[in-house]
């Protein structure tokens, strides 16, 4: 699975044009429908080397939904701003703790 290559399960003749937001492997039970007893086996079926692919697919799904339609508004930029705010606040939390205004909280 190299960078810039198609996933090995993608076959142009069956699937048509490549869609980076779709998973072309074998479909598994979605996490929302997994029964509690099957949770262990479901987690066992997960594959660590597919994480970059999953991140890429998630990014493309967000892109397709908010950034690439013809008449986008301000929403994707607002989401980007809020996302960046959360990430940078959590990274700098150690510093922020020292800027508290009160010592004891309820």
């Amino acid at each position: 699975m190299g960078f810039g290559e198609y996933p090995p399960e993608y076959n142009a003749k069956i699937h048509g044009p490549y869609d980076p937001a779709r998973y072309y492997g074998k479909a598994d039970i979605p996490f929302g429908q997994v029964k509690l007893g099957e949770l262990g086996s479901w987690v066992g079926r997960r594959n660590m080397s597919g994480i970059p692919g999953a991140v890429s697919r998630a990014f493309w799904r967000w892109n397709h939904k908010y950034m690439l339609p013809k008449k986008t508004g301000f929403a994707p930029f607002a989401q980007l701003m809020v996302g960046c705010m959360i990430v940078f606040y959590s990274i700098n939390y150690g510093k922020m703790v020292h800027h508290r205004n009160h010592k004891y909280h309820w």
Binding site: P17, D19, P69, K70, G73, A75, P76
Partner: protein
């Protein structure tokens, strides 16, 4: 062209969904059109509330908590974070508030105008693509018509060539016949010449022979013979005269 998430986007049924069948991959038999439909670019983005919260999160909580659920969740979460000072409201926070206010004001005031100008520009670009496509089709059709006319005139050229060829054949025939006639007349002239030469020769021979005979005969007449003949003639004449 990008994907349209199942059922959530509405796509304008315009030229945008134009199917093409030019690639062999599209027409393969194993093409699974049902599970892997051809992706389409959506026109409207996903719905958001408050500018950035996706609508799906509100719908997810609606069955359990109703309409106010997500707002109460948001309020409660922010109260908890601020009161326990997990979210510290230090000086940068107030800067953030001011910037947020300015951003919201700018978006509300200039957003629609900018959106409309940009949409119009996109529409102009797409219209130019469509015009180019239509124009190319019309051009190709016109050149097809011109090609047909050229084919017809080419057929006319064929007939022209045939006529010219006939012309040349006629000229060749005429030249041939003229030369034939000339050959005939030349041969006749030569034969006439030979004839004349033979005639002249015969005539000269005859004349010469006659002259030679006459000369010889005249030379062989002795004077005595001549006097005797003359006398005989005179006697005959005298004999004849009284009879008349």
């Amino acid at each position: 062209m990008t994907v349209s998430p199942e059922g959530l986007q509405e796509v304008r049924p315009l030229v945008l969904v134009r199917p093409t069948s030019t690639s062999a991959v599209q027409r393969a038999e194993q093409r699974d059109e049902a599970n892997f439909p051809r992706p389409v670019r959506p026109v409207e983005p996903g719905k958001v509330r408050l500018g950035f919260v996706p609508e799906e999160w509100f719908q997810f909580l609606y069955p359990k908590t109703g309409v106010t659920g997500p707002y109460v969740l948001g309020l409660g979460l922010t109260t908890f974070l601020c009161s326990k000072e997990i979210y510290v409201m230090e000086h940068e926070y107030y800067t953030g508030i001011s910037i947020l206010l300015m951003v919201v004001y700018a978006v509300k005031k200039f957003g629609p105008v900018i959106g409309q100008t940009l949409d119009k520009k996109i529409e102009d670009i797409e219209q130019s693509w469509r015009d180019y496509r239509e124009g190319s089709i019309i051009q190709v059709k016109e050149s097809m018509e011109k090609e047909k006319e050229a084919q017809l005139s080419a057929k006319g050229q064929d007939m022209l060539f045939d006529a010219k060829r006939e012309n040349v054949a006629l000229q060749l025939e005429a030249a041939y016949r003229e030369r034939l006639a000339r050959v005939h007349s030349e041969v006749k002239k030569r034969l006439d010449y030979q004839l004349e030469v033979a005639n002249v020769k015969t005539r000269l021979q005859q004349k010469h022979m006659v002259d030679w005979i006459v000369k010889n005969v005249k030379g062989s007449i002795t004077p005595a013979q001549e006097a005797a003949t003359l006398k005989q003639c005179m006697a005959d004449l005298k004999a004849l005269a009284p009879k008349a």
